[in-house]
Amino acid sequence: MKRLFDLSFRYKIPLWGSVLIVTAALFVASSLMFRAYEDLRRDLYISADGLARTLAKTLFPAILHDNVWQAFEIVRAPFHGASPEHPVQAELVLVVDDRQQIYVSDDPKTLPMLTGIRYVSEEFAALAQRIAELGASPGTHEFAGSKHIYFITPIADGEALLGHLVLGYSREAFFERFLDIARNAAGIAALVVTVLLPINWYWGRRTAEPLVRLAARMSEVGHSVPAPMEPGLYAYRDELGRLFEAYERMVTELRGKKVLEREMVRSERLAAVGRLSAGIAHEINNPLAGMLTAISTLKEHGHADVRTLKTMALVERGLQQIRDTVAALLVQARLVSRNLAAQDLEDVRTLLEPEAQRKAARIEWQCEVQGEVDLPATLVRQILINLMLNAINAAGERGSVRCRVALEGNCLEINVANDGRPLPEEVKERLFEPFTTTGSGPGLGLWVTYQIVQQLGGRIAARSGDGLTFFTVSLPASPAPCVPKATASA
């Protein structure tokens, strides 16, 4: 039974509907049959009673005067005898005298005059007993397996009881007629069921389908963020429709959460990398400074031969490269700087011009900043230069680079776009990590930019789309954090 309840709604709804329809059809059909049976029986009783009363009244004088022939003509009158057209007609008419002998019957060949009815058959013996029990009151006699339904009417006038009239109605014909009606009712029920079942099946499937889809999607929750529903799958405002809406909301929120998580993981990683590199840098810088000082001292006072000097110069250049690299890793934003002015941005533009010309790239410059902004000018310039150089590089020969700098509320927004190749997925993930490069350069530009943005309390994001690659930086000009206008995506 439990397995039945475990079934999918796809089967359960139509199945229950079918069970209900069939049950209802059965119930209606059987109540119709029951009603028909009762009606038939009542018709039979009324018809038999009317006939019996009339016959008994007519028979009384005939029997009183012992007019056998007249009584015979009365019982043989052609208003009985079952036929398909008149199934409720008496099949047997019998007059029994006060000694329970047959006075006259409509078929003397099988039921001759003066025969004691109890000797005719077992059925008639029971009938005789019933007649004796009834006395002067009318009644019926019928038992399971009896051939007829007997209607017993006393032939009497006042005190004088001359005998009994027995009308026998064929039970077989009666049941045959009932079966006819029953067959009709069953046919109608079958028709109703035939029409309703497919409709029910269709409707059930239709109702279950969105639920089933929803359940399938819901079961994905936990493993992955499920895909949104096909639009128009269920466009109604009932409970199911509301469930769909809730699902859509949930999916949206889950996706947002997922993006947030990924970003958090990435910034955590970047922070860890930052801490690590800062730590390493510090640890390297101290001995490095010592080593460089020692080499410098040795060069000035050591009287070394040419060969040694050459080697020391090689060592010194290597150590200087290490120092540069470490310096680049260890981004220090704490240096004091003047506020950013519009002129600083123009300077950056001027600085980049030669590089752009060398690459024959077109720069679209849009600067909407006027006056001063409460942000360190050096750092903002470095950010802008890094992003622009990257963009010019990415745009390639005869590429196009667009830059927009504007104040949005209390935030300085920097947007840099290029029409170069979009960012590959593997690069996207590690974009702001050190030594991530797409070819040229050591791959520290974005790392430095990221570190600066972080230290200024801003946000940086990159995305590709519409043939363009965007880098967006938001920097809070006041201690209040930036309110993002749109969700940036990696």
């Binding site: 056998v68 022939w69 003397p108 060949k109 005059m113």
Partner: protein, 328 residues
């Protein structure tokens, strides 16, 4: 035992034929299944010739007596003895009589002999076609007017019949303790004759059978035996033979066990109060029915050959039987 049905319908000129149809049968009961006489039967020819001579005289008399008799309606009693389904014949015969007599004719039908006998006694009717047994009962009050000629003879018989499937019965003596159907208490062939047969066997007819009943019609006796209501019955040979022609499916269900001696055929009688002229006029019309096509056609439909004057002595056999039961 005078409990017969009392359906009474008078058929008169004033009534259309369809009204007569409601009752009729009277003549049908009387008349069925008569064969034409062979042309070569000399005796018949002689009788016909004699009848013709007599008829000529009668016609003359009738013409002369018409004035005396006037235009009073003739009332003719018919007793039930035969088939129920030739209403048209009765109407045609009435018309025929009216045309011949020049007077309206009214048929008075009763379902038992007894009632017609009472009507005769009370002179409610002038003429009647009755059974021979009632005729003898009324001998002092009526005059014999005409006797039908059936199969060339003015006689008929009583048939003892049983159901066709009942093969072992060969005599009335074997029917002791059975159920027996009589036609009418005033029927000769349907009551007196079988009782007389038992009487001759030394049996008491009142106790011989287990139960007896009257059907008040010969045809119904045949039906009672055919249906199995009665084991045996006694019936008019004229009725049985006629029915065998008209409705053989009924007679086929019965079997004739024995045939009685001959009895004078049920006669047509006139009450003694009817004047001679009127008597002769009516007798003349009846006896001359064979002389014109209309009459001949009617006789054929009655299954009889002709009417003859008849003689009371023809009924002596019946009288003897009555005597055996202390009657007459």
């Amino acid at each position: 035992m005078d409990t017969g049905k009392r359906s009474t319908v008078a058929v008169s000129d004033a009534l259309p034929h369809s009204a007569a149809d409601g009752v009729t049968d009277w003549l049908l009961r009387r008349a069925c299944g008569l064969r034409r006489l062979p042309n070569g039967d000399l005796r018949t020819r002689r009788r016909v010739l004699r009848a013709a001579v007599a008829a000529f005289g009668e016609l003359w008399l009738a013409g002369a007596g018409r004035a005396a008799v006037g235009s009073r309606t003739v009332r003719f009693g018919l007793t039930p003895a035969f088939l129920h389904d030739q209403h048209g014949l009765l109407a045609d015969w009435r018309e025929y009589l009216r045309d011949k007599l020049g007077r309206p004719v009214e048929f008075v039908l009763r379902d038992s002999y007894r009632e017609t006998m009472d009507l005769l006694r009370l002179t409610k009717i002038d003429f009647a076609w009755i059974c021979d047994y009632p005729y003898l009962h009324l001998k002092d009050e009526v005059r014999l007017m005409a006797v039908p000629l059936y199969r060339g003879r003015p006689y008929y018989r009583s048939y003892l019949i049983v159901a066709a499937r009942n093969l072992h019965v060969s005599s009335i003596a074997q029917l002791k303790g059975n159920i027996f159907a009589y036609a009418d208490p005033y029927s000769n062939t349907g009551y007196l004759a079988p009782r007389y047969a038992l009487h001759r066997l030394g049996e008491n007819p009142e106790r011989f059978f287990r139960k007896t009943f009257f059907t008040y019609s010969h045809r119904k006796v045949i039906e009672a035996v055919a249906s199995g209501l009665a084991v045996a019955g006694a019936v008019d040979s004229y009725v049985w033979d006629s029915l065998a022609v008209v409705a053989p499916e009924i007679t086929r269900q019965t079997r004739i066990v024995s045939i009685s001696e001959e009895f004078g055929f049920p006669p047509l009688v006139a009450h003694r109060s009817v004047g001679d002229e009127e008597f002769r006029q009516m007798q003349g019309v009846l006896l001359n029915m064979g002389r014109d096509p209309g009459g001949r056609s009617l006789l054929a439909r009655f299954h009889i050959d002709a009417f003859i004057p008849g003689k009371p002595a023809m009924y002596d056999g019946v009288a003897r039987m009555m005597l055996a039961f202390g009657e007459g």
